[in-house]
Symmetry: C2
Subunit: 330 residues, 2 copies
């Protein structure tokens, strides 16, 4: 017997989400009305992100349900992190070909585990039948004047990225080659795959960068494309020094440097933060990053002009900004 | 040459949406960052709705782009209306098989025309490639203690519905039979079809019902199912008196009463408000409805118990609550 929409929401989402909602104390009613009722803190700006994951486009066919649930929320928390926002609540619009309990159980578990880690409460949404896709709408807060934006960088500002970019793209390639067959994978391969399947939104780093970073974006489409978007919004050019990018031991254990660079620059899905800092404040960055236990690396600089340049020890590297555009390139 | 995501958003959404955003004055930055930055009014609760329309499920294959854009926003404004909320902003997640300028132009025009009519600003979102589906996230406000909810009705409260239910379901049937071929349709048929293609969210009525209605829901799945949900949330049963439902002249000109009743009770897509009022306040309803130029009709009553009953001149009408559940019934 197929599960009804009501049972489905009740069993997999509403009940597990309830304790988090009550713990927050700022969502006066539970899931089940036509819309969620929320109590924003006074004197703060609201920050709202809406991102959709579509099967076969944002995750491979046959991806684990827990990963899909995790990633759908993670990409939206990452958007809030890039704005320097503190996440509070989210809504879920889930489109499914059929209501399969095994899928829903894993999906909800993956999503709600990440929600609990960041104390964000699921407060509403919608389920419907159709080709598998997941829209999440995340809401958070930032004090007036403290939001990080893509605009705001100036020529001369240093360009940073968090974590070890390229891992997720390498992990996706592994996932496509050997889906869920972790038995045959090495430890390095499993770690890379997990970096794709379970990206960690850099919420604490985003909060720490308030008032420090001059501009910020999250890395969803590859470092080159996203640094390029930040530069464009800041009316600058940007130079990335390839040799300064810090690759993970796992990536270097499984790929040569050229492949690692391709993954980092053009691969996408890392959900690291890419941000700029004026030279006067650069000395604060190491302590700030250590404080939130997140590695950050200076990889370049904003420049006059509008060019996106990648250099390797001073020599220009031709870069096809792939991953930039869903319709034109993928 | 395919249009890029950036151009697409720029041309069809960002520029046309800009004047509305500026006119509101409470969304300090335009579309283009990782998330929208919004200034909620102090002392009010935030109301958030997220609904998805999927091609072939919520609208027929080959629907007009303007209608899809209109409906995707309308169903979310209807959710806010059902909460008694004043709509302010929305985000759009658009999944498209390809970026076709003709489609996008019509879609954006349909969506932004409705947005302008309700002074809601498009403040962000996401476009991606995949099977056609549209998620809209609408945000609005309501003073504390004033939100309408499904819970709150009491046995003895009178049950009302706005407008002329059943039109949209009849219109959908016409649309499926003769898609977009208005040349061969009668005036009545065209009007019914427009009721499906361009539903009018009852925002002003929802605002007027604050502090007056004891419970409220919007009619998306048919009057019987939605009145049933309201009653369930209010811990009541509900009786609908079939002969009191007011059908439109267009519906009665094209269908017999039995068909009209089926469309109204089980058809869905009307996006009217179904609400309850205590007998002591029922005398206020006619003036309130006239004030917002929206016809409302008393069609039944909440009862003790948990039953959903439909009577015709006192005799029980068997009712299969169709349209209740996407997975189990459709």
């Amino acid at each position: 017997m197929p599960l009804g929409e009501f049972d489905l929401i009740e069993r997999y989402f509403r009940k597990p989400a309830e304790s988090l909602r009550l713990a927050r104390g700022d969502a006066p009613v539970g899931i089940g009305d036509d819309a969620a009722l929320l109590q924003p803190p006074s004197g703060q700006l609201l920050v709202a992100a809406l991102d959709t994951l579509v099967e076969g486009r944002h995750f491979p066919l046959g991806s684990s349900a827990a990963s899909i649930g995790h990633r759908a929320l993670a990409v939206n928390l990452s958007d809030l992190a890039a704005m320097g926002a503190e996440p509070a609540w989210f809504l879920l619009a889930l489109t499914l070909p059929a209501a399969q309990p095994e899928f829903l159980e894993g999906f909800a578990a993956g999503m709600l585990r990440l929600a609990a880690a960041h104390r964000v409460a699921l407060v509403g949404g919608d389920t419907t039948s159709g080709p598998l896709s997941v829209s999440v709408q995340a809401l958070g807060f930032v004090p007036p004047g403290k939001a990080l934006r893509r605009a705001g960088g100036k020529a001369g500002d240093l360009l940073y990225v968090s974590g070890t970019p390229g891992d997720a793209a390498a992990g996706l390639q592994l996932e496509l080659a050997q889906p869920q067959s972790s038995a045959v994978a090495s430890t390095a391969q499993r770690r890379l795959r997990d970096r794709f399947l379970y990206p960690e939104p850099r919420v604490a780093l985003g909060l720490a960068l308030r008032g420090v970073a001059s501009a910020c974006i999250d890395v969803s489409d590859g470092l080159a494309a996203d640094a390029g978007k930040l530069a464009l919004a800041s009316n600058c050019g940007v130079r990335i020094d390839l040799e300064r990018i810090r690759f993970s031991a796992e990536l270097l254990a499984t790929h040569d440097t050229a492949a690692a660079a391709r993954f980092a620059l053009a691969g996408g899905d890392d959900y690291e933060l890419c941000f700029t800092v004026s030279p006067a404040r650069a000395s604060e960055i190491d302590a700030l990053a250590a404080n939130v236990k997140c590695q950050v690396t200076c990889i370049g600089v904003l420049e006059d002009g509008r060019a996106l340049r990648v250099l390797e020890r001073g020599a220009a590297v031709p870069i096809d900004v792939d991953g930039y555009d869903h319709f034109a390139h993928r």
